[in-house]
Amino acid sequence: MVNFTAEEKGLINGLWSKVNVEDIGGEALGRLLVVYPWTQRFFDSFGNLSSASAIMGNPRVKAHGKKVLTSFGEAIKNLDNLKSALAKLSELHCDKLHVDPENFKLLGNVLVIVLAGHFGKEFTPEMQAAWQKLVVGVATALSHKYH
């Protein structure tokens, strides 16, 4: 199980308090679909995903990005307990959504890149390390109920 130090929790929460969930979530999901186009397989119903600008401007992508990042926020409130906090979502992603857990790693790394782009000097190596630990923890927790 992943353990966050007090310092790491401080770094994560400190940055999180400045995150606009709608903007960052939409950008992260959009970039996932642009950079790794095969991830579009889960979003056939989303309409126009035919170009980078279509994807980034797609209102369904933005809304879904916001939803995904809001769940991240819930995970951040439960850093000592990610597996149980994300248990239901894990079942959903396996049984209903059929998402390969590899995708959680891809999205996690794209999120780190988006945060790096937004937060400039504040996104130090220490900050990056704390967030990498978080996205790995979330990916692991989301895979936990797979069978």
Binding site: I113, V114, A116
Partner: protein, 142 residues
């Protein structure tokens, strides 16, 4: 995976905008990689990897210069990187997983310093570029 004409344009333009900072960014990417992924330090037991290390600065410049050369030869990466490919296969033998870690840290560094230029399309092209370079560098491993 193939670099399209558009990818090549994106890569050349993005690298051009980095200008004289390439060495600095190479060093920062290495610093991030050593800090975020401590296992990568196992390939540099002889290095001082602390912040500001002269060895990391020097090595970052080396890596950046090789990437700059690659950018100048996007139509023939295997040719341009042949010597480095031999080096990594027969002497350095860096496990292939580590190229993804450095590539990720290079993207983080570029996004961090050039957010306005690091559009989604440029991000995609650079990700493909680093993946292509990584593939060439590990192509002679076995």
């Amino acid at each position: 995976m193939v670099l399209s004409a558009k990818d090549k344009t994106n890569i050349s333009e993005a690298w051009g905008k980095i200008g004289g900072h390439a060495g600095e960014y190479g060093a920062e990417a290495l610093e991030r990689m050593f800090f975020v992924y401590p296992t990568t330090k196992t390939y540099f037991p002889h290095f001082d990897v602390s912040h500001g290390s002269a060895q990391v600065k020097g090595h970052g410049k080396k890596v950046a210069d090789a990437l700059t050369n690659a950018v100048g030869h996007l139509d023939d990466l295997p040719g341009a990187l042949s010597a480095l490919s031999d080096l990594h296969a027969h002497k350095l033998r860096v496990d292939p997983v580590n190229f993804k870690l450095l590539s990720h840290c290079l993207l983080v560094t570029l996004a961090n310093h050039h957010p306005a230029d690091f559009t989604p399309a440029v991000h995609a092209s650079l990700d493909k570029f680093f993946a292509s370079v990584s593939t060439v560098l590990t192509s002679k491993y076995r």
